[in-house]
Point group: C2
Chain length 354, copies 2
């Protein structure tokens, strides 16, 4: 493997000059630069990032912490991050965070604690104070997308507002018995994405005068039903069967906390022979790429764009200052929530009978 010394010798200059010519830092005669670059490409020289990191303290590598790869939202965010990072010449080191357990702390206490990444982007994780403290102590910029925890830079949509909007949409259509399929932890973690969306739902139904029913088997009539489930399609399907199975208790509308859950509910409804949207209205959240295929009304967000932006923010925090300090507001729009948009499709309509 050729080192910079080889390039220097071939070009007849010192290592210092070769370094300057190739990295672009510092002045070097145009002619010399060309000679060095020629020599470098001739022997196929590529700088060792490790050696460079050692002296500069920068790794040009960003750590990404993510709980699932195989959920559309997370995959899409990852995609946006990857593209942007690649274009900026950065590497992306992936940490697939187990929900909890020793593996989780190992990620924070060992992997992220080392000097291998310049900054960390955390997607959809509810960070504990201890985890945040650990990262801050190491002066690593942290950018969060969704999730919760007292961190300086967080990109997020207005999840409470999303919950309220989805619910209002159904209420305005005339539904009076509405279920919310919330994410796991909606009640135990009020600050989480699941918790905020659920809160928006509950406040809105409450304001409309709908009583909160104990569970899905409560007697018929107006009311709000809250069920927690995993945010994926299989769990949405299972919860959907449960929720819609009993004709007398069935709600006329379901607000699912994610589009994938909503897909599951739709299939459950079909399985039960319900016709949509006559017998049931369903609304989701995300703007999943399959939403159109399922004719699903949803509240869109742009995960890819959020990923792109997270990288921009991280890079800005890195560039502006050494690390954790008082960089003035790295977030766009002073940290205002990211945009969302209600997209109405065929899965929501007025209930069949009043």
């Amino acid at each position: 493997m050729p080192a910079i010394g080889d390039v220097a010798r071939l070009a007849g200059v010192s290592k210092a000059t070769a370094s300057r010519a190739l990295s672009g830092r510092g002045h070097v005669a145009a002619d010399t630069r060309r000679r060095v670059q020629l020599a470098a490409s001739e022997i196929g020289y590529i700088a060792s990032p490790d050696a460079a990191s050692l002296v500069t303290g920068r790794t040009k590598n960003i750590g990404v912490v993510i709980p699932f790869v195989n959920r559309w939202f997370f995959g899409a965010v990852l995609d946006g991050i990857e593209r942007t990072l690649l274009a900026a010449g950065y590497d992306l080191t992936l940490y697939n965070l187990p929900v909890s357990g020793p593996e989780r702390s190992r990620v924070f206490e060992f992997f992220l604690a080392r000097k291998r990444v310049d900054a960390v982007i955390v997607i959809g994780v509810d960070l504990t104070p201890g985890e945040i403290g650990g990262l801050e102590r190491r002066e690593k910029p942290v950018v969060c997308i969704g999730g919760s925890g007292e961190v300086t830079a967080r990109l997020t949509i207005d999840d409470h507002g999303v919950g309220a909007l989805a619910t209002s949409h159904l209420l305005h259509l005339g539904h009076t018995r509405i279920a919310h399929l919330a994410g796991v932890g909606a009640t135990s973690q009020p600050a989480s994405v699941a918790g905020l969306r659920a809160a928006g739902f509950l406040e809105t139904t409450d304001a409309a005068g709908l009583p909160l029913l104990a569970d899905e088997s409560s007697a018929g009539g107006p009311g709000a039903i809250l069920v927690e489930a995993d945010m994926g399609m299989p769990a949405g399907f299972a919860a959907g069967l449960q929720l819609l199975g009993h004709p007398a208790h069935r709600p006329t509308a379901v607000f699912a906390a994610s589009d994938e859950m909503a897909f599951g509910v739709i299939r459950a409804a079909e399985r039960l022979g319900l016709s949509m949207p006559r017998d049931l209205s369903v609304i989701g959240v995300d703007g999943h790429e399959h939403a159109e295929l399922f004719d699903l009304t949803t509240i869109e967000q742009s995960p890819t764009e959020q990923g792109r932006l997270a990288v921009e923010v991280a890079l800005r925090m890195l560039g502006g200052e050494g690390g954790g300090g008082g960089a003035p507001d790295p977030l766009p729009d002073s940290g205002a929530p990211m945009p969302t948009r209600l997209v109405v499709r065929g899965s929501t309509a007025r209930p069949a009978v009043a």
Copy 2:
């Protein structure tokens, strides 16, 4: 940030001893080791991997090249890789490879060419000879999962056999007008996954005496129809509408090259008012986690397991020898194909009328 010198000083030993005590390499008195470890944890010392890489030549980092994150198969493989790597104390650097263009060559010629990764795992990519040559020249072990290209270590299922099996299943049920929804490149890249599955289909239908029909709008009657499309659900839906839209030309069975495509076909059939499996049988490939939900007959493979195995192979190639040389057969079972399994569900049955 504490360095190993600080630890050594605090423990009253030399840097060399401190290094040995912490890394576990070389002998050191049990008592000394404890003292060093205590000192290290006291000041929160964590070794800099960059400095270590510089001298050992090993980065404890594996590069993963993948064309999509948001396809179930790829996400599942990635998941298996991540878990295994994490357990082994390795980092995973992700390269989301654009299908082609300058970005693609940049990944190979710049990112992977540097000394930042010890080995590369490539998932579902048709590697060009140039790309393979570049990696071999840098003596980087390469492990492929699926895809094509003349590489030493490849984990793969018997895609040709899968194509044949899926087709036989339909033939044995009595279907005589069968369409194959192949992946893009099935005809132009015969060695690709899409190409092999399509070949299995064509040979099997041919052996059964079914003529290959020009396209989906060919006149009715017995025959084999081949259509290429993207392996995702939206493309499967679109192709499904096209294929099934004309009642007179409609095949009675579809073999989709992936489960996601199959899901799309199923929804297309539903949209067209077809009843399954009475009017149409559908079989897919993958063993997608939603297959049961769609009641889809499929040929299962285990991407997560393949990911785990790929890491094992890569690590073995790394451990056994310096790098590219003559390590004897790092693949399990002498490179035999990974297992697959036909899982019959409700989406396939005898055709309604003979």
